[in-house]
Structures are given as structure tokens and as C-alpha cells.
């Protein structure tokens, strides 16, 4: 059983009127307003197609509302939604794997996108250029990760989910999640070291 996650401030809380039938997903508009951005981001980074990500995001909230009676509050709302989104993502990539790869790069988050969104624009041009190069190298490594590694990496370091939450979303034990994360970080670190060696040679 998944330990109950504490809900952050600003998030919805379970109704405490004793009625088991009342879930946060009854007010799906409020849930959508709070979590749409996060779910879309995770799906966009995973499926790498903006339109598909939007469709899957809508399906996620629709499924959450349909299966709201199954939500017992054993995990956070975000984890529940991520779990549904992950299942939809699996179904989608299973049925449309060819098109999934074909569409990559068209409406996906690219390294150029990321470089233009780099924070702290006030830093020096040289520092900014180095940061952009490092960001590009890391992102290229992230793109080459296997699907589970990539999803786990994004959940941990972009969505800042706890390992137990990731295990619930990915439907795998925590040690397996850790193992994937170690491999992902090792891969990214290797790319980073290669990049720094190149800089030193220059």
C-alpha cells in the first residue's frame, strides 16, 4: 500500500464530511485548473508531440472523473493523475509506436527551445553560452534514455516527485525506480564529463 502523501498548500483536500462517495475529483474543474499544467508537461516530455499530449491530458482528467469512486486518498491527487496519465501513455505508445517516433521533433520540446528558456538572462554572455551548451548536452542525453528511465528521471527531477510516488506511478517497486534513476544519472553524468573534457581541450 502506498503511504499517504501530504498535500501541498493550494492543493485540494479530501472532504471531511465522512461521506466516502465524495472525492476531490467531483470538482473536476478545480482539479483540472490545478494539475493540468503538470500533467501536460509530463505527457509532452514523454510523448514528444504537443497535440497528442493535449489529447492525453484531456483523457487523463476524463478518466480521473470517471474512476473517481476508486480514489481512496491513499496517494496524492497528483500521483493518481500521473498514474492515469502513465497508463494512457503506455496504451498510446503501444498502439502508435511508429507514429510516435515519426513525430518526434516536430512539436516536441527541443534543445533549442530549452536554450532560449534558460533562466538568469542577466549573466555574462560567456557564462550563458557555457550554460546553454551544458543544457543541450544534458537534454540530448535525456532524449536518449530508455522510456522508463526517461519517465522516472523527469518525474524525479522535473516534477520533483518522491521515489515512493514514482514507484506508484510507474507501477514498480522503489528499488527498481532507484536502479533506473541511477542508470539515468550515470548516463547523463557521462555526457556531462565528455562535454567538460571537450571544453578543457579547447
Amino acid at each position: 500500500m502506498m503511504p499517504q502523501q501530504s498535500l501541498q498548500s493550494g492543493e485540494l483536500t479530501l472532504a471531511e464530511n465522512g461521506s466516502e462517495s465524495v472525492t476531490p475529483f467531483d470538482d473536476i474543474a478545480a482539479v483540472h485548473a490545478l494539475y493540468e499544467e503538470r500533467i501536460f508537461r509530463f505527457l509532452l516530455l514523454s510523448v514528444r508531440d504537443r497535440d497528442v499530449a493535449l489529447t492525453l491530458t484531456q483523457d487523463t482528467f476524463l478518466n480521473a472523473w470517471r474512476t473517481r469512486a476508486n480514489f481512496r486518498g491513499e496517494c496524492s491527487i497528483a500521483t493518481w493523475l500521473m498514474y492515469i496519465a502513465m497508463n494512457l501513455l503506455r496504451s498510446h505508445t503501444r498502439t502508435e509506436s511508429f507514429r510516435f517516433w515519426k513525430r518526434v521533433g516536430d512539436t516536441a520540446v527541443s534543445a533549442d527551445d530549452l536554450k532560449s528558456q534558460l533562466p538568469h538572462p542577466e549573466r555574462s554572455a560567456e557564462s550563458r553560452l557555457m550554460a546553454q551548451q551544458e543544457l543541450e548536452q544534458i537534454w540530448q542525453k535525456v532524449e536518449k534514455l530508455s522510456r522508463p528511465q526517461r519517465a522516472i528521471f523527469l518525474l524525479r527531477f522535473v516534477e520533483e516527485a518522491e521515489l515512493a510516488e514514482i514507484a506508484r506511478v510507474m507501477n514498480m517497486p522503489v528499488p527498481t525506480v532507484k536502479s533506473h534513476l541511477y542508470r539515468a544519472l550515470d548516463h547523463i553524468r557521462a555526457g556531462r564529463e565528455t562535454g567538460s573534457r571537450k571544453k578543457e581541450r579547447r
Binding site: E36, E37, F40, R41, L44, L45, R50, D51, A53, L54, T107, V109, D113, L114, K115, S116, Q117, L118, P119, A131, E134, L135, I138, W139, V142, L154, R156, F157, V158, E160, L163, K178, L181, Y182, L185, D186, R189, R192
Partner: protein, 161 residues
């Protein structure tokens, strides 16, 4: 621990687990490890910030299409309307005599009215002829007979005399 420094696995473990990071005494005493860890953490943080900003940009585009797309559509609509006008204009002008014919339609109606009036006049004349005892064409003859009968006895009397 590799010698006096953290191994990559230990570094990853610290990166993954915030609580372990806080518990780690080594990062406080080892400047090299702390520097490497901070560098790694900063890279991941920058990646996170850039990914969130980029994904939000994509979300806005997906949820609400940019208004810039509307201008070309409006322009295309105007172009299509102009082309339609260019094509339909000559066709309309070419068929304009048909409209003139439609306008002139009351003229035959007037002619019909005139012919009806003449027919009515003719019918009334015929009716008048039929109702009269002597046909109109024979009226001069009857008038001569009448005058002859009026003058006849006098002339015969004169002849008799």
C-alpha cells in the same frame, strides 16, 4: 566513499534524496565534493526551469492557438472573396440582357391589353350588327330605297300626269 571523496553512486544518491543530502557530513567538510555536487545540482535545476518554461510555452500554443494565425486566415478569406468576385462579376455582366428582358416583360402585357380592347370592340361591333335589323353594310342601300319610296309617288304621279 572513494578515498576521501564521494563516489558517483553516492553523489547520485544525494541528488535523489534531499534528506540524505541534509544528513551528509561529507559535503560540509569536503569542498571538492561540495563543488561538484552543487554543479550537478545547478545543472539539473536549470534543466528543470528551462523544461517547465518550454512546456508552458507549448501548452499555451496547444490550448489557445496564437492570434497570429488568424491574420493569414482573414487575408486568405479576403483573397478568396476577391477571386470569387472576379469570376462571378463577368458572368453576371454577361447575363445582364436577361435582366433587361425581364424588365421589358410588361410591354407584351400592354400589347395583350390593346389587342383585348380591340377584340372587345370588334365583338361589340359584331353584336351591334347582329342586333340591328339591317346589316351595317346594307344601310346605304336601305337609305336609297327609303328616299326612293319617299319621292317615288310624286314622280310616278308626274309620269301619270
Amino acid at each position: 566513499m572513494n578515498g576521501n571523496h564521494l563516489t558517483s553512486e553516492e553523489m547520485d544518491a544525494l541528488l535523489m534524496d534531499a534528506e540524505a543530502r541534509e544528513r551528509s557530513q561529507h559535503l560540509r567538510v569536503c569542498g571538492a565534493c561540495a563543488e561538484e555536487f552543487e554543479s550537478l545540482q545547478a545543472a539539473v535545476s536549470e534543466l528543470r526551469a528551462a523544461v517547465i518554461a518550454s512546456a508552458e510555452k507549448h501548452r499555451r500554443v496547444a490550448v489557445m492557438p496564437a492570434p497570429a494565425h488568424r491574420t493569414p486566415r482573414a487575408m486568405w478569406s479576403l483573397v478568396a472573396a476577391a477571386m470569387l468576385l472576379c469570376v462571378a462579376g463577368p458572368v453576371v455582366l454577361h447575363h445582364s440582357p436577361a435582366h433587361v428582358a425581364v424588365v421589358q416583360m410588361p410591354k407584351p402585357e400592354a400589347e395583350v391589353a390593346v389587342s383585348e380592347a380591340s377584340d372587345a370592340q370588334l365583338m361589340s361591333d359584331i353584336q351591334q350588327d347582329l342586333s340591328s335589323s339591317v346589316p351595317q353594310e346594307m344601310l346605304p342601300l336601305t337609305a336609297k330605297d327609303a328616299s326612293a319610296s319617299a319621292t317615288g309617288p310624286t314622280s310616278s304621279s308626274k309620269e301619270n300626269e
